[in-house]
Structure formats: structure tokens, C-alpha cells
Amino acid sequence: MEPAKIRVARDQRGERTRFEDIEIGTDLGSMEWVVSEEMIDRKCEIGEEYHEWYSVDSPFDGRIAPPLINYEPPRILFSQKYNIRGLLATYECENINPIKANKKMTVSAKIVDKYIKRDREYVVYEATCVDEDGLEIFRTRRTHVLDYLPRTTPREGIGIDYIPEHGPAGTLSASRPDEANGTKE
């Protein structure tokens, strides 16, 4: 199959969010996040990231998760607010404290920048994670390119899609500012 020469305009969620509709400073909301031991096992298996700290015990009082397990929650918050496609362009993170199994955490995110570079549209979002004891776990900043194709490419295609209603495995719930205010998109 030949790669398309048009950008996706619509998908199963409806019209895609346009670059112009994303506002810097937008609160992406927050979500509760608990990493189960099963999630750690799965992460280790997929990334071939085996270590006794992840599978048995660690100097941090119990099993911990590979740091990159933190990728998903902020990305989910981004996708819940906007109908986003595209690819991760940059990933920045500070591992402040280990991610422990079965510890309740809260991840909060917001849009902090957007720009156009080399004819592509980029959106920057940041997230922080604290656990139930108020301990900061990580801070992250990501840049997401909205399309692989240049922004001057016509936007009229139909994308093959994710099913957005589901979250990652494990305990997960999310709230958005609009829901907290009793409104719905």
C-alpha cells in the first residue's frame, strides 16, 4: 500500500483537533494511576527490561516499575482532551522517585507550548506525578507532532483509529476540568 499524500481529517472519534484549536495553557486534567505488579511484569516482558528490582525486590522497599512506564498517563490525558494523531517527537523526564507497585498516584498535565517547524505542527505538554503521600514521582515534558506529513499537505483523509473509551490495564480513572465543572464536550 502506497503512503497517503493527504493528512487525516477525520477518524472514528470525529473531526480531528486542529493545531489552531489547541491553546497554550490548557489544563488536560488529572488521573489516578496505580501500577499493578501485572503491569510491571508486562512492561518488563515487552521491553525485555528485566531486573530484580522490577520482578523481585528493590532497595526502595518493594518492587518498582521501569521508569518509562510513565509514558502512558500523560499521553492519555492529552488524547482525552483532544482528538490527536501523530507521533512523539521529544520526550523529557526527570525520575524523582521510583514508581512503586500498588501505590496510588495522581498525574496532572497541561499544554505549555505549540509551534510550527519545518512545515509541521508541534504541541508541547507537561505532566507531573505525585503519590498518595504527596511525594513527587516524576516530571515530564513531551513534544508531539500532529502529522507525519507536512502541514501544507491537504487535510481530507480518514484515519484508521484507536478506540478511545478504554484506558491502560490496571486501575485507572481520569477527570477533566470540563467534567469537574459538570459540562461535557
Binding site: 497517503a4 521491553g47 512523539l88 517527537a89 523526564c93 507525519y148 480518514i158
Partner: protein, 140 residues
């Protein structure tokens, strides 16, 4: 096994970590596991509709090789106090074999200890860099 110490010399190479990528790995990584689910990371048609010539594996899955390398090199100093900044510069396909590499470039004294700053990257089987960046960890 932790390798990095305060005495680690600039120019020291980090232990390379390799991984054979595959569509199966990408599918397993997907947290949704919904029957019929498709997407640019593991579906050729979905990828083609976005202008990609092949499925582009997710960046974090590839970047896991760097995290493995950092864990091996720094141990606790990566898990607690590690910092990373990566740029994903080229798509990785399911057929690719990738290797994470790194080299110690600088040292910095902080309140929490000595930080070793490394240039890190992932290259494919053709020697093309697919991820580049810096990562650091604390040493005692």
C-alpha cells in the same frame, strides 16, 4: 551491577543494549487490546493513511533500550534522580534491530551528589540514528 562512580572518566562508553523489534511486541505493548483495534504503530494500512511507508513502532518502546542501559550503568542513581531528553528523529519499523549506546560527556556537582551526563542514542541495523539525546544519573 552498577558501573558508574564518581571516578568514571569522561569518554567512558555505556554498555550497549540491543533489541529485535517486532509487530508482536508492539501489539503486546498496546494497553487497549481491543479486538479489531488498529493504529499506525502496528497496522500497515493505518500507517499508510498517515503517510508512513510502514508501521512506526512507538517511541517509548524503542527508548526502553536507553532506560535499560541507564539502569545498568547507574543503578539507583537512574531510578531516583535520573534525567533524560530524547529526540525521535527517524521511524523504527517492526523489522528493525536497534541498539542503544552512550558515552559519558560531562560531570556536574549537585546538592544530591555527582551527576554524570551522557550522550545517548539508538541506532538501527544500518547504523542510522533513530533516537538521540542526553541522559544523566547520580553517582556516589
Amino acid at each position: 551491577m552498577v558501573i558508574a562512580t564518581r571516578d568514571t572518566k569522561l569518554g567512558t562508553k555505556l554498555p550497549p543494549i540491543s533489541m529485535q523489534m517486532s509487530l508482536q511486541k508492539q501489539k503486546e505493548r498496546d494497553p487497549l487490546e481491543v479486538p479489531g483495534r488498529r493504529g499506525i504503530h502496528f497496522d500497515k494500512e493505518a500507517a499508510a493513511r498517515e503517510g508512513l511507508s510502514a508501521p512506526a513502532l512507538s517511541g517509548p518502546m524503542v527508548a526502553a533500550t536507553i532506560s535499560r542501559m541507564m539502569t545498568m550503568f547507574f543503578g539507583e542513581g537512574w531510578i531516583k534522580g535520573g534525567k533524560i531528553l530524547l529526540r525521535f528523529i527517524r521511524p523504527v519499523t517492526p523489522e528493525d534491530f536497534v541498539t542503544a549506546k552512550g558515552i559519558v560527556k560531562a560531570k556536574a556537582l549537585e546538592d544530591s551528589g555527582m551527576r554524570l551526563i551522557c550522550d545517548v542514542w539508538v541506532e538501527n541495523q544500518r547504523g542510522e540514528k533513530v533516537i538521540v539525546g542526553t541522559a544523566s544519573g547520580l553517582v556516589s
